[in-house]
């Protein structure tokens, strides 16, 4: 009996000792982003010591799924996050008190060109209405690419309900397209080039190019409470992001190195695609288009006021 109790006691002691290590290092600002190039300005600012130069201690936390970012901000696991416009607006619409504090990435002709609906072999798409009745994989339902594609379908006079949408994450796209599990996927570079080179299909539509928008993809957001208490830190954060955005947009080498370091993607793969354009300023009116599109797709319940969503 004593032996058994001793065994339990040892295992408790072992587990208990590690608890103390977790509570440390709270002074740093944690910035949470998904493994894409959208938060490149923060990645570069960490790597090039730009945050430090402005007197900020910043650490980046990789987040698996973008829609977890609002909850992570509210729990104070991260103080600043990089949600997509759709995730941010849905969270605010749902009652979470978040506020956008700086711009990260925006759509532009280059990034729009990277976005496609990639169609598997054996399926021909000549015009938008050919998508009717097809099974289309989106990396997240009601997420960025899905919302854009639905907007494009509506503009082209196709009923989005005639398309069967399923969720397919980026890394599984090529295998699912290959096996014929879906007819098309809504994807972006470098996946388009990889799938094209592997002979798995062809580009069915360049819907983002046709929409030709310049609205924000991802921006930096925080809880209003944290933002109110940390006005000085936010000023420094904005200055640092403005400085590193220059590097992201003009120095592919440095930007690729930082992106590869944070996302753990092989550097050759990162270099294949230019990072999405970094724009550090964010104006309330830039959220207007998203609010309108999402409201028309019945994704928002309340009437959101853009002026209240962006910190002055």
């Amino acid at each position: 009996m004593k032996k058994i109790i001793a065994t339990f006691a040892v295992s408790f002691a072992l587990t208990g000792s590690a608890l103390t290590t977790t509570a440390l290092a709270q002074a740093k600002i944690q910035v949470g982003c998904t493994a894409t190039s959208d938060c490149a300005s923060a990645m570069v600012a960490v790597d090039e010591g730009i945050f430090k130069k402005h007197g900020l201690e910043v650490e980046m936390t990789p987040i698996g799924i973008n829609s977890n970012i609002p909850a992570a901000i509210l729990s104070n696991s991260i103080q600043i996050g990089g949600p997509t416009s759709t995730v941010f607006l849905q969270a605010v619409d749902g009652g979470l008190d978040l506020v956008a504090i700086a711009g990260a990435s925006v759509m532009n002709p280059v990034s729009n060109g990277n976005i496609t609906a990639f169609v598997r072999n054996g399926i021909t798409i000549k015009e938008p209405k050919d998508f009717a009745g097809k099974k289309v994989g989106a990396p997240g339902l009601n997420a960025f690419l899905h919302v854009l594609f639905v907007k494009w379908l509506v503009e082209k006079g196709v009923d989005p309900k005639s398309v069967n949408f399923v969720e397919v994450t980026f890394p599984t796209m090529s295998d699912i397209i290959k096996s014929g599990g879906v007819d098309a996927v809504l994807t972006a570079e470098p996946f388009v080039t990889r799938m094209t080179n592997a002979g798995l299909g062809s580009v069915g539509a360049r819907y983002a190019v046709e929409l030709a928008r310049t609205d924000p993809i991802i921006f930096y957001a925080a809880s209003r409470e944290w933002a109110d208490k940390n006005a000085v830190a936010i000023k420094k954060f904005r200055d640092a992001i403005a400085e590193s955005a220059e590097i992201v947009n003009n120095d592919r080498e440095k930007a690729s190195a930082s992106i590869s370091k944070f996302t753990k993607q092989p550097i050759e793969l990162v270099k294949m695609t230019p990072p999405n354009r970094s724009v550090p300023e964010l104006k309330p009116e830039q959220l207007g288009w998203w609010i309108e599109v999402m409201s028309s797709q019945k994704m928002l319940q309340s009437k959101l006021e853009p002026n209240k969503l962006v910190l002055k």
Binding site: I4, L19, G64, N68, A72, L74, S174, K264, Q265
Partner: protein, 262 residues
Amino acid sequence: MSDNTAKNTAKHTAKALVLPVALLVAFEVWARATHLQSDSLAAPSDVVRALAEAFADFSILIATRDTLFSAFTGLAIGSIIGLALGIAFGLSNTLNRLMEVTVEAIRPIPSIALLPIALIALGFGYRMEIVIVAFACVWPILILSRAAVRSIEPRLMEVSRALRLPAAQRVWKIIIPAALPRIFVAFRLSAGIALIVAVTVEIAINPIGLGAGIMLAQQALRADLMLAYLVWIGVIGYALNIVLVVAQRRLFGRAALSGDSA
């Protein structure tokens, strides 16, 4: 153990390994021959290389520490709560009947369904994971220890009453020793659950540990590294089970067998 038995065991192991090794070799040859290009499959040799790299830069060891720490702490907390409630419900019929609806209403909630609430309430890190693992581990321990306490030889209870043992001593000296082999089976069951739940929490939300390692490798399009993590989790699960089976045999001897049939 005689030499012959040892030889036989070795022969048996070798035979059992033939099929998996042949399959791995066949897969390797196929992957090389077809120049396998996939974001979710990789040749076994690449997986081994990725595993070695992950060991070399300590990333997989740190992830293992995080996962096992959360799993074991959650298991320990869940076991204590489950055991305490199980013994109490096993001893008192009234309490058991009073709590039945509550327990049966909460028990079927999948622990993973608590993730969204747990994330907002507790944030990323060990705390959230430990709470969810503990929640998952309470139930098997509670139910099996309740059954174990109820199936204690009635004469033992009579003896404790005749000796006028106070309640605490009755639990400590009679009930726990008598029910322990079966409680340990419940603990073994929960240990498996703890590892599964810990990795699942990490895959779904928590950016630490082996599950997060799999997700990050997948998003970095490193199928080799992702599979290396998967293989390593398999090894840990296998090792954990062996440790617990050996512990069960050493601690309880023949009594362990009766526990297994419980």
